[in-house]
Symmetry: C2
Subunit: 478 residues, 2 copies
Amino acid sequence: MTHDCSFLEALALADDQLSFAMGRREPRAADWGTQDSDEAVVPDAVVWPESTDDVSAVLAAATDHGVPVTPFAAGTGLEGNAVPAHGGISLDLTRMDDVIEYRPEDFQIDVGPGIIGTDVDEYVADDGLFFPPLPSSGDISTVGGMVATDASGMKTVKYGEIADWVLGLEAVLADGTVIETGSRAVKTSSGYNLTELLIGSEGTLGVVTRVTLRLAGRPEQIRGGRAIFETLEDATEAISDAIRTEVDVARIELVDELSAGMANDYLGTDLPDAPMVFLEFHANHGVDEEIDLCRTIFEGHDVSRFEMSDDDAEMERLWKARRELAYAVRSYDPDLEPLHPGDVTVPISAYPKVVREAKRLGEQRDLLVPCFGHAGDGNVHYSVLVDPDDPEMVDRGERLYRDLVELALEFGGTATGEHGIGLGKRRFLEPEHGAGAVETMRAIKRALDPTDTLNPGKLFPETLEGERVRERGPTDGD
Amino acid sequence: MTHDCSFLEALALADDQLSFAMGRREPRAADWGTQDSDEAVVPDAVVWPESTDDVSAVLAAATDHGVPVTPFAAGTGLEGNAVPAHGGISLDLTRMDDVIEYRPEDFQIDVGPGIIGTDVDEYVADDGLFFPPLPSSGDISTVGGMVATDASGMKTVKYGEIADWVLGLEAVLADGTVIETGSRAVKTSSGYNLTELLIGSEGTLGVVTRVTLRLAGRPEQIRGGRAIFETLEDATEAISDAIRTEVDVARIELVDELSAGMANDYLGTDLPDAPMVFLEFHANHGVDEEIDLCRTIFEGHDVSRFEMSDDDAEMERLWKARRELAYAVRSYDPDLEPLHPGDVTVPISAYPKVVREAKRLGEQRDLLVPCFGHAGDGNVHYSVLVDPDDPEMVDRGERLYRDLVELALEFGGTATGEHGIGLGKRRFLEPEHGAGAVETMRAIKRALDPTDTLNPGKLFPETLEGERVRERGPTDGD
């Protein structure tokens, strides 16, 4: 579907803030998760707002003209979150990347949504501060995108998710109204928590134009390293035990034996193709006690190697297999491609069971299913590798992918710990939350954006009018 | 206004679940903050639900009949949060106080809303667990009430507020629909965050019928004690410095010299009438290093005494002035009563300024204004003492009370860090959040509760139809 966006020319935008050129529109029809999707639609126009006023003017006019607006920034989403489903305007926020105000005396910084995550870290580094909850893509993803999906990452096990570090927002609603949420106080009981409502709403309720972030002091002691186990059961049970013993760990990442093998191939390393756990510890004192506690727990699960260092280069070396893993998986077999990225998250006691089931199903159905990810959060990233030219195999893969989501939901977990729903996981919204909760979400959407201007087609398995959306998934129809 | 609640007799409630007796209705027209308020209205009926089904049936019928429902439990709110403003039904949730499911392997517990905070602690104590964010009234307040106001307390400086420990809720909407929010995973990016929307909404969007809480392991090392300073400036700057140095403190409470004097009088102790800071440290190791760091910072602000202990009885003794302070303030002068409890919260760098201004205004306007509270959060509790029979003094006190809220808002803070808006702080909602945000909150309220069944008259300075509510405050009309 296409929309007439010529009304944009009447707005007070500079020439370089608006484009109808295919060369600018097309790149905004794909993100990291939708390269090959036919659900992602090329927008009819791209606008680069440079101020809150620009955003407000575009949204008011778009709502007036019944044209969809999909906020976009780095394009690193994994579920098509920022890719238009219904055409219209791609609102590219990358130019709103300023540090608006920095208050080191309160560990706070106000930034534009387009700022890159690690640029925040760099800006505050001289004061010994950092922004803890960055996702793995923090060096290319924007803070606005992280807010939109309530992103998290490796350090969430210690520091929490993005939402835990956002004190307030400025956002523009569909009709152009600018609102401010939250406060600069570290806690408040005043009114509805609009900040948390907007975080993770994937641009469907408002466009975030300013984010007030909390910062933390950098820890004085950092140690990093790696443990290698004989069996996957040992590795996952060791992780689960460590978390339940409240070992103060800042990163604790699983790489299963299949992924380890792929990484060894890719990097040319001669490590065993065995389950690995990557660790980092942050503390102001007592880091060695925490490492000892972790080692003791791991020894109870027959850890075969446990290497830790305080040297940056050595830590980097020990972590290499984890850091390069996504590339290793993609390079493993030129005929195979990973299906949508698995992102289930479960209570920590269920973590070993989900990983075990992923492997069991892979073997049973003759599919490669490397598992890895932010184990300490109970977050299992899994890739189902399929030959995209083999429809039967794709279908088999889709079923395995879905079965693992359903298993996670049976354990009271979530279909998506950190990537959001976007296009890819709409079919799991209702199984996870139930019809009543989804209808409540939809009522909020209707109240705040009655014309469905903002990022339509995302999150909900049905349109606001109740029409079921077409979606990816296995062909067996259940 | 009164409402005909006879329709309740047709519901499947036992005899002892419904009362129209004045002796049962009247106690539900007051909480800790509204003893003398004429805004609190006696409900027309009291219902004690014993199940989610009961709550659902009552809400559906009440909405049908256009009768307000105000959830009530321990009655320890400080802003009339759970006291009917428009009559109707007081929904007393104290019987829904079960532990529904306990999952120690995941540090999680599902409880009914009526359970007392410390009963959770007791239930999980044998596993070495505790529920960290309890407010000071945790031994009499219910978890449901804490969720309704997003309560926090002394340990929030280390552990966060209630919202940080709630993974999910079951709630009943105005029309009787039962929804479940959140999940048992420690993080999720799936859909709108209805959990956080309901937390702090003071029963205006739904009635919480089950709360899934996270728990923490009890720290191995606990030390507690007290510091005494020469001047209030020294005390507040020392606190601010300690927080900005990220001293790992679990409680850090101010008691100003006026409050200290009241406590000395009340307890018959011979401590100096000087500003005091009460401290508690929790750690698994390194607690002494943190105490040393704190002492060093305090010495930079001329601390005159710094006493710390690991002995329970001695800690209790050192803390006595803080623990008994509320009673000491109330007992100080039989002719004076505290006005509404101040609860402003500001960024930590502004904390000394707000406390200083409270004292300055008190002296300038000839009013006693004891200040105390959860200093580490930037949370200033202040009592303005007035003779309730002296209208000029009450008015002077109201103005001082308001001026401090306005000052906090100028610093980007909040009118209420932990008590909620209720009846008492409605006039500050819009100054704090702006018209756009308040209208957004109201749009959500209309979407979820279009008939304004749930706790009407609370939070918003206007009715859903836009009629301005009458409210306490100074008589000068600005």
